[in-house]
Each structure stands twice: as C-alpha cells, then as structure tokens.
Amino acid sequence: MDRWFWLRRWNTRVTISLCAVGLWGLLTAPCGATQRAYVISAITGTGSGDDPQRPMIADLRDPGAADRVLNDDVDPPVMGKPPYRWVSLMPVNPADGKMLHTWTLCVVSGEDLSALQSAQGVWILATSQANEDLPNFRQRLQMTTLADLPAARRNRIKQECQDRVGLTPANDVTLLQIVRLLGRKLHLDFEPERLSAQ
C-alpha cells in the first residue's frame, strides 16, 4: 500500500457519488426545455398591494409548466399553470410611485413561451434557443445584426425603436445593442447583464 492509497480510494468514492447525484438529477429533471425572451410589455396595475404595477406578461400562465395549487383557501384547492418567471425595468416617479413610462423591457423565462405571442400589449424582441442560458443568449444576440434578420422582422424592430426611443437603428446594429438602447430609455445605468430571470 503506497502513501497515496487512501487518497485515491477516497477520490474514487467521491467520483462515484458525484456520478450518482448527476444521474439522479438527470432522471428527476423536468421534461420541458426552458426558453428565455427579451420582451417589451405594456404595464398594468393600480399600484395597490393587491394590484401592483407590473408588466402585462406577469399575468400570463406558462402552458408548458406542470399544474400546481394556485389557491389553497378553498376546498378543493384551485389548480392551474404557474406564471412565467420574469424580471422588468420599472422606474417610477418618486413623488407618487407611479410608472414613468407606459411600457417596460422584460426578460421572461418559461417552458413554453407561446402565450407571449398572442398576448395583448406584448412584443417579443428575441427568443432564446431551448435550454440556452442567459449569458449564451446574450452572446448570440451580440453576434446577430439587424441585417441578419428577415426584412419584415428587421423593419418591425426599427419601427419599435423609432416609436419608443426616437432612433432608427442601422442594419449593422446588433440585437444586444437594441436591447441596450431600449433599456437605457428606461434606466441610464442599464446593461443587459444586469437584467436577469433564471
């Protein structure tokens, strides 16, 4: 038995344990593929605790998620789809707490983003690939210019930028620069990596 025998044996046990944990994680992971999107959403809500100011996407349900208990105060409990995970830039007027803008930039995350496509007041700027995490999604947006897009989509983005920030981006502008442009209209400190929903 050499001097490293116990260390090697311990390493083997650790490796086997980690493999078992990884396999268990794969077997128990949800079947759906998480997708993410940068979205422009209209705002709803009066600002009370029961009806807070929020993007309209906050009220959408994720059709791809498993049902869960939504209300356990009644018998039987109300079951249904959970909302999407989301985050949103929401600057307000300090004097009264009311929204400074009628729209907001959001990151939305869910198993099935199809509910966004038909929602009122919601415009999808870009959608990730299945299971693409936010850093990789941003990297792809950094490498995609308006010129890479079909004409109809490119023109829609230009029109949205014109309507919201008063600028029409050139064809060599990347989609990540579009995200930054829209976000900076809402908050001067905005950077895309500082807006994330897992």
Partner: protein, 228 residues
Amino acid sequence: MRWCLLLGLLLWGPAVQAAVFEDHFAEGADTNVSAHTPDTTGTSWTQIQQINTTCVAKIFGASDQFAPSSTTATSAGELLSADITYPSANYEVNAKKVGTDISDDTVFLAARIQDADNMYGARFNDDGATLYKRVSSTWTSLGTSLDIAQNNQVELTVNGTTIAWDDDDDGTDEISVTDSDISAAGKAGAGMAAVAVSTDDCSNEKLDDFIVTDLGGGAASHRIFLVN
C-alpha cells in the same frame, strides 16, 4: 506546482464581510419579535407595519424561529425593521426559509426600509418569490421566481442600483434588476403574510438565521492569492 494549485484553491474564498445585524431568534420563552433583542448583533426589532391584530411575528421558545403567532389568521401580518446603524446602503439580507407553505401563506424580507411606504421587499414561500418596491405607498413588482425548497437560505441584495433575489444563496441570482428609486440605506426587515398582498394569511411560514451583511461602497469581491 500541484501543491501551489491546491493551496490557491484552499485559500480562494469570499472576502470577509461584516454582519451588521444577526439574529437566530434564541428565546427561552414565547416572545413577540417586537419585544425581542437580537441574540448576536443588532439593537432591536421595530414594527413598521401591522395588518390586522390577529397575527404578529413571534418567537416560540421551543423552536427559536421567526414564526406567525397564529396559524389560522387570514388577511393579517406584520413587518418589522432590523434596527442598527447601517454602514452603507449596500447590503445583503439573508435568512433561512424553514417553514413550508404555498399559495397566499407568505413571508417577507425587506431592504432599504425608509418607512412603511418606501422599501424594497421580497414576498415568498415554496411556490417562489415576487420582488417588489414600494415608493410613496405605491407597490410595483420587479420580477418573480418559481419554487423555493424548505431550509433554503434566501437572500435579498441591494447594491448600488442592483436589486437582486437569490432563492438558494448559490451565488446565482434568480432575479436581478437595475433600479434606483430608493437609494438611502434605511433598514433591513422581516415580516410575514399580508405585508404586500392584503389577503395573504399567517400559517406555517417561518424564518430563521436572519443576517444582514454590509457590502460597503462597491460590489462583493473575492480574495485573490498569487502563488509562485
């Protein structure tokens, strides 16, 4: 070389950050949190908001946790501030979510509490979290996460204009957003049930190990060791 790498890995770690407020809710007898003196660091807890009087935050001597005084009170709740002089407006509010509950049975962590009408906060339970700000009494939702496991350490961070929520204190924030509407340090806080949503109920939700850590003037950093 291997030893140098090993030494480097062993020494790599988060910079030591000071806990400015720390409470594990140790009490010999049943005590309302508003009458409890923090057991480690901090001066007191002060009631900021009371919604109905049927439920307040209480420490039961047998369990030493931040718990509701009633498990059946509906549309009730309380928010308390963690009192101490905060060295900066940048800090993390960390607590262990020990109760298990869903739907409208919720707990609440707060940061930069100026008064009952101005603060950042997170309302959460097993279903997930909603990140809020309240400015001039108007509530605004900033983001949501889904699913928080029993006994997770959860964390609300206010650091400059970054407001973040971490469901499991793994260093990856579930919600992170840029916001500058409340910039003064104020105080951290903890609460339960109807702090934000008036119909939330007191039930089985509980907290433990409440720790506020100052982040100083900038973002959190790491110690870096150079090994030849």
